[in-house]
């Protein structure tokens, strides 16, 4: 029998429907892979019983003729989504042991659609990081290894799976789950997807409800799926998206049938190439892959036009004011009183308890961002930093609006490098931030954007290409992604060493 864990979401759905295998067999096969991959540290909590229960229900539904869109499909859940009765930590010590009494909207939609949960996936603490090195529960390791560095894969340097959705990316690439949820505030779906050779889409801001997702920067946070291919992303997103009255910024729009409308025929479409994304001194493999992507989209029938996004260089600095400002406000809720950790030193009063709790419960990167955010929002600096950044954000959004007057989608690299080694960028926070240079502008503008694998670099590591679309045009993004996917023919996978 074929290895069920090599199947995509569509493959599992269709095969289960056709009676080729049972959902229980699928759940057990993936749970076995999860149990055998502790070395990757992709999961904080494993929930094989949850996956099995959903699988039994899926098999019963098949017998009764009441199959649902994701019947028989087990997935991974980023540990930023509140799951009723299952520990939800945001990879922090602060929320260690926190068991939500309710379910997030997005995860509830997935369970209602028949999916099962294999476990809660590791991430950067409070989704703050680009390498999954800020988790309180340890680094996630990418299944990929460079093609040099010794005869034994196991002994070669450990690479970052990207972040913040690094548990999701690592688990999918290693075939521990066929798909997973991610969240993207400034690239946290796209960059990890690119690092491990999978696909991931951040939809238009407001498509997926934020209710029950641990908040980082609320004007930027957006959930989305990560999976092995574009079709699977479309299937997952259809289930995850939709209006939710419990999120004040939820979009009250119908959810399109993205999967049914997938088409890689780009005749009549214009693809914009932003000249400001040609960075000096960038890894030549990245630029070469970008050029290859341009050729693929031309081959699919698209016309390629040069566009300008003049404020690109200011996107990252604006992001690193806006996101920490919102984070400092959002994370004020962790006070040691209502939930989560409490550190009450002997004889301490309320204020000392707050300070001790937050010193103990937050990791260094989280503290750094809260401090930056507190500073830029403080009296006397608010206008110079925060208001200025929000004005620049308006200009960045305007850049995209003007560019989309002459093109339908934009093609760019996802990240300025392939996966880097663990520890390579942790000494200097700024060098880590710069890895999100291509991802952050679309986040600031709330636009749908996805990463698809395009090929391997000279070190044998995956490189992703990013497609950015107009607001609400996930279909255009998915279709261009599909055109690249079909032409890139990316089938490489990490050789097993774990």
């Amino acid at each position: 029998m074929t290895d069920l864990t090599n199947l995509t979401v569509a493959g599992i759905r269709d095969g289960h429907r056709a009676g080729d295998f049972s959902a229980v067999e699928v759940a057990e096969a993936f749970s076995a892979n999860v149990a055998g991959a502790k070395a990757l540290n992709a999961f904080i909590v494993e929930t094989p019983e949850h996956a099995l229960t959903a699988a039994k229900a899926a098999d019963a539904d098949r017998a009764a003729g009441t199959l649902k869109p994701l019947s028989g499909v087990p997935i991974g859940m980023k540990d930023l989504f509140a799951t009723k009765g299952v520990q939800t930590t945001a990879a922090s010590h602060m929320l260690e042991g926190f068991v939500p009494p309710y379910e997030s909207t997005v995860s509830q939609k997935l369970w209602d659609a028949g999916a099962g949960m294999l476990g809660k996936l590791n991430l950067d603490q409070f989704a703050m990081g680009s390498s999954n090195e800020t988790s309180y529960f340890g680094n996630v390791i990418s299944p990929w290894r460079r093609n040099d560095g010794g005869p034994n894969l196991k002994d070669r340097a450990a690479l970052a799976p990207g972040g913040s959705s690094g548990g999701s990316s690592s688990a999918i690439a290693a075939r521990l789950c066929p798909a997973a949820t991610g969240t993207d505030t400034g690239g946290s779906i796209r960059q990890p997807a690119a690092f491990v050779g999978i696909s991931g889409i951040k939809p238009t801001y407001g498509r997926c409800s934020r209710w029950g997702i641990v908040a980082f920067a609320s004007s930027l946070d957006q959930a989305g799926p990560m999976a092995r291919d574009v079709r699977d992303c479309a299937i997952m997103l259809e289930v995850m998206a939709g209006f939710d009255a419990k999120d004040s910024t939820s979009l009250d729009l119908p959810v399109p049938n993205w999967e049914a409308a997938l088409s890689s025929d780009l005749k009549g479409k214009k693809v914009g190439i932003p000249k400001e994304y040609r960075l000096e001194g960038i890894d030549p493999d990245i630029d070469a892959m970008w050029d290859a992507g341009i050729a693929m989209l031309k081959d699919a029938g698209a016309e390629v036009v040069e566009i300008s996004l003049p404020h690109t260089k200011y996107a990252l600095p604006a992001y690193y004011i806006i996101a920490p400002a919102e984070a400092s406000s959002n994370l004020a809720r962790y006070d040691g009183v209502r939930y989560g950790l409490r550190d009450l030193p002997q004889g301490a009063g309320l204020q000392d308890m707050y300070a001790a709790t937050r010193a103990e419960g937050f990791g260094p990167e989280v503290k750094r961002r809260i401090m930056i955010g507190t500073y830029v929002l403080s009296a006397g600096f608010y206008d110079a930093y925060y208001t200025q950044a929000q004005k620049v954000r308006t200009l960045i959004a305007r850049d995209f609006e003007q560019a989309f007057a002459s093109c339908d989608v934009i093609l760019a690299p996802t990240a300025p490098s392939a996966a880097f080694g663990l520890g390579e960028k942790t000494a200097d926070p700024l060098s880590m931030y710069l890895n999100d240079v291509f991802a952050v502008p679309a986040s600031l503008a709330g636009l749908p954007a996805m990463s698809v694998p395009a090929g391997l670099n000279r070190e044998g590591l995956p490189i992703g290409l990013q497609i950015i679309g107009k607001a609400f045009d996930e279909q255009g993004v998915l279709n261009a992604g599909l055109a690249i996917e079909e032409r890139a023919g990316f089938t490489a996978r990490a050789e097993k060493w774990w």
Binding site: Y205, Y339, R342, I370, Y385, K391, L395
Partner: protein
């Protein structure tokens, strides 16, 4: 503009995060590095530009004035609300004594 140790301590105090001397020293360098880098935003001409308030145009909705319309977010959930509290007492959140 660069910040000094006293400012780092002031920010930490506003953020309610206890920091040691060593952390304050390390943070002074890190925060100055980051703030020095974001200074470049000052170059951008923003004359006549409104600060962004909503990334995707949307209007705030009002829910119907119905008690417990959505039981998930409605009332009468005391035990759920207290379930994760580190020190609940008599059906309330417990805190250290604040009045001597």
């Amino acid at each position: 503009m660069s910040i000094d140790q006293a400012t780092v301590r002031k920010i930490a105090s506003l953020a309610r995060i206890a920091i040691s001397d060593a952390e304050a020293t390390a943070m002074e360098g890190e925060l100055n590095g980051i703030l020095g880098w974001v200074e470049q935003l000052g170059e951008v001409d923003v004359t006549g530009v409104e600060p962004m308030t909503a990334v995707i145009p949307n209007s705030l909705r009002l829910r119907d004035d119905v008690i417990n319309a959505d039981p998930l977010t409605g009332g009468n959930r005391r035990d759920d609300v207290l379930a994760n509290a580190p020190a609940p007492q008599h059906g309330f959140f417990g805190v250290p004594k604040v009045i001597e």
